[in-house]
């Protein structure tokens, strides 16, 4: 008898816990058969807050007061997914809410329009974006009636979701605070008028990341700032051939979300440099951040909002950065200036390694053969896979990729390495003889004021 009482006492809270757990709403899990038959639109709104970071609450479209967890005084962030050809829930959704809630006390609303996005027929899904936008607009208008301010709303849209954000923003006359578009969809949107896609008038601030402009993404700038990661087309580490299966189609596109995640990591920041083309950026023609004042060039990702005011004065800004193949994706940029004394022109690739306490960072400048001319400074952009503090040793290698020119030497008068993101004295080395394909290591010295 005593045992029974004891057991009941023990089991009661567990039962309560289980009951509580059961009200966790999950993202609609569909499969390929749904996609083949086609789904009609149903927009579900799942609320996550710091109190229920992993357990979603289904929010009513008409009655907010039923949800005490929704606090109108907190900023609200919507996450809107894109086309789901297989109907599966996005694998990154859970992590997205966690990262957002870790950063700020928000109402995070996951917009689950999987029924509507899961369709073999992409055109149907595109059609549904407008209806989903209408649903969302109605919901936000209701939020407004409950005291939420439009400027505290941030919509993060992936692929088709980016355009949904745009439609919602346009319906609300561009009053919402921010739209972040992660590789906005290109097919069916490329070449359309601004009202039929995302554009900078849709929110007070629109930041856009492009990672797949040559297939699923959108090529032209769409926001106040457009980031073209690795030029926006092919992402490093993504398969180049169809032999790799499904990853071939979605890897570049999905990388946009992974890059955005990386931006929540405070130690790994990617500075984006304004430039007219990726080629000019790689050539080292766009290393100036003067237009952004003391803040320097914008950092890609969640925190780009800090550059909002200056970006709004600049209209639309196209920026570029490169990434590593795996997380951490951020790279460290140096300006490399080389002056030679060879009588003849020299063309070739430069590989720079920075060493410090057993750590090594490598940058290969091989997007094209750089030209070196006697007594003329050649400026290059070197992108290192990691950041090295207090560089102790530098290695240099010159190569032409031409076996016939094996006797080539690059006679360097001076090389100067300048960290683009840290205020540091540039590193110099004078009088180096670089034999083709032979690595030369040396200890750099702090540069003296130049009188060349």
């Amino acid at each position: 008898m005593f045992l029974w009482q004891y057991l009941t006492l023990l089991l009661l809270p567990i039962t309560v816990q289980i009951c509580k757990a059961q009200i966790c709403e999950e993202f609609s899990d569909l499969d390929l058969s749904h996609a083949i038959i086609g789904t009609s639109l149903r927009t579900r709104l799942l609320l996550y807050t710091r109190d229920n970071g992993t357990c979603g609450t289904l929010v009513s479209h008409t009655d907010l007061s039923a949800h005490p967890r929704f606090n109108s005084s907190r900023p609200t962030t919507f996450i809107i997914h894109g086309y789901r050809p297989t109907g599966s829930p996005p694998v990154w959704m859970q992590k997205f809410t966690e990262l957002l809630l870790a950063r700020a006390d928000l109402n995070v609303i996951v917009v689950d329009w999987n029924r509507g996005a899961a369709n073999i027929n992409y055109f149907k899904a595109v059609e549904n974006t407008h209806k989903a936008a209408d649903n969302l607009t109605a919901f936000i208008e209701m939020m407004q009636r409950h005291g939420a301010s439009l400027s505290s709303i941030h919509m993060i849209g992936v692929s088709l979701g980016a355009h949904i954000s745009g439609f919602v923003g346009a319906k609300l006359n561009g009053a919402i605070g921010r739209i972040t578009a992660l590789d906005p969809a290109g097919p069916q949107f490329t070449g359309t008028l601004p009202e039929d896609r995302l554009d900078p008038t849709d929110a007070q601030f629109v930041d856009v990341l492009h990672t797949d402009i040559d297939s699923l993404g959108f090529r032209e700038p769409l926001g106040h700032i457009d980031f073209y990661a690795n030029g926006g087309a092919d992402q490093p580490g993504c398969p180049r051939t169809i032999l790799s299966g499904g990853a071939y189609f979605k890897c570049d596109h999905q990388r946009s979300v992974l890059l955005f995640f990386d931006s929540f990591n405070g130690t790994c920041t990617s500075r984006a440099y304004p430039c007219t083309s990726y080629k000019d950026f790689l050539d080292g023609d766009c290393m100036s951040c003067a237009r952004f004042g003391a803040a320097g060039c914008p950092v890609f990702g969640y925190d780009v909002i800090k550059w909002r005011d200056v970006l709004l004065t600049l209209g639309q800004t196209k920026t570029f950065f490169t990434t590593n193949t795996d997380p951490p994706f951020c790279r460290t940029n140096y300006r490399v200036e080389v002056m030679i004394w060879n009588e003849d022109l020299r063309f070739g690739y430069i590989t720079v390694k920075l060493h410090s306490n057993g750590k090594e960072a490598v940058a290969t400048i091989d997007h094209k053969a750089s030209e070196f001319k006697k007594f003329t400074e050649t400026t290059l952009l070197a992108q290192f896979d990691k950041d090295i503090q207090s560089v102790k040793e530098v290695s240099l290698k010159f190569s032409t990729g031409n076996a016939l020119k094996s006797k080539y030497k690059l006679r360097v008068l001076r090389i100067r390495l300048t960290h683009l993101e840290r205020e540091e004295r540039p590193l110099c080395r004078y009088d180096i003889l670089l034999q083709q394909d032979k690595e030369v290591s040396f200890r750099p010295v702090p540069c003296e004021e130049s009188n060349f």
């Binding site: 007594f375 016939l404 006679r411 040396f442 003296e448």
Partner: protein, 259 residues
């Protein structure tokens, strides 16, 4: 008729190349006379045609056929085709060999050209044409030496030994420099002074060619270059020589162009 006659003539010559002993009999029109009977039988359609061709309209193609057979009269009939095929084969083989040889020659020549072009002209210089002097003065500190009275007079043994050692160091440093070595003339230690440590005054002399001297002044033999080649040498040595008597403190180095 003109066409026909011309064709006969050509084919006659063609045939003649097969065997040098062949009788050049196949003249225009009357070539038919030398035709052997079985050849004629084979070309039943053309039988008698060349002989009685005058006035007849026959396509020149047929005529050609007939005359080719006609021309080969002196090759035995069975050997006829073999003779022609082997001849063509030899010719083809010769052409192929010729092409291969040409390609090899072209590759060889281009390789040789490349090698010749690749000779690095930057290694060659004529130091006898270097006449314009350029000098730098400066000082550095020897923190591991204690100043003695003997050091203040350059003729003393201690002073001479130290100066020789330092001069050798400077000599070696500039002579081994890829960019400056060829222009380097001499390094002199001019005096030792007493600071808190020993201070040495030095002078470096370079000579440069008359031509290009403006560029050299601005770049290769600029103060920045000459100074920093010295400076980085001192930093390189810091790690292994910082305890030695000849150790020069890198931060103490200064240098000015001597006008």
């Amino acid at each position: 008729m003109d066409i026909e006659l011309q064709a006969i003539g050509e084919n006659g010559k063609d045939g003649a190349t097969c065997s040098p002993n062949e009788r050049v009999a196949a003249g225009n029109g009357d070539g038919g006379a030398s035709r052997t009977p079985d050849t004629a039988e084979k070309d039943g359609l053309l039988f008698g045609q060349p002989a009685s061709s005058n006035g007849e309209t026959v396509s020149s193609h047929h005529t050609t056929e007939a005359q080719r057979t006609l021309g080969n009269t002196f090759c035995p009939r069975k050997m006829n085709s073999v003779c022609r095929i082997s001849r063509e084969r030899v010719r083809l083989l010769l052409i192929i060999i010729c092409i291969v040889v040409l390609i090899c020659a072209a590759i060889g020549i281009s390789l040789a050209m490349c090698a010749a072009i690749n000779v690095d002209g930057d290694d060659n210089f004529d130091s006898s044409s270097f006449k314009v002097p350029r000098s730098f003065n400066g000082s550095f500190q020897l923190p591991n030496r204690v100043f003695t009275e003997e050091l203040s007079t350059l003729s003393s043994n201690e002073s001479q030994a130290l100066a020789a050692g330092l001069q050798e160091k400077l000599d070696h440093l500039y002579r081994s420099s890829p960019a400056l070595g060829r222009y380097f003339s001499k390094a002199e230690i001019q005096a030792f002074r007493n600071g808190s440590v020993v201070i040495a005054d030095y002078q470096l002399t370079f000579v440069m060619p008359e031509e290009q001297q403006d560029q050299l002044r601005n770049f290769t033999l600029s103060r920045e270059m000459v100074y920093n080649v010295f400076r980085q040498f001192l930093y390189d040595q810091e790690a292994d020589e910082s305890g030695g008597q000849m150790y020069i403190a890198p931060v103490s180095l200064n240098m000015l162009l001597r006008l």
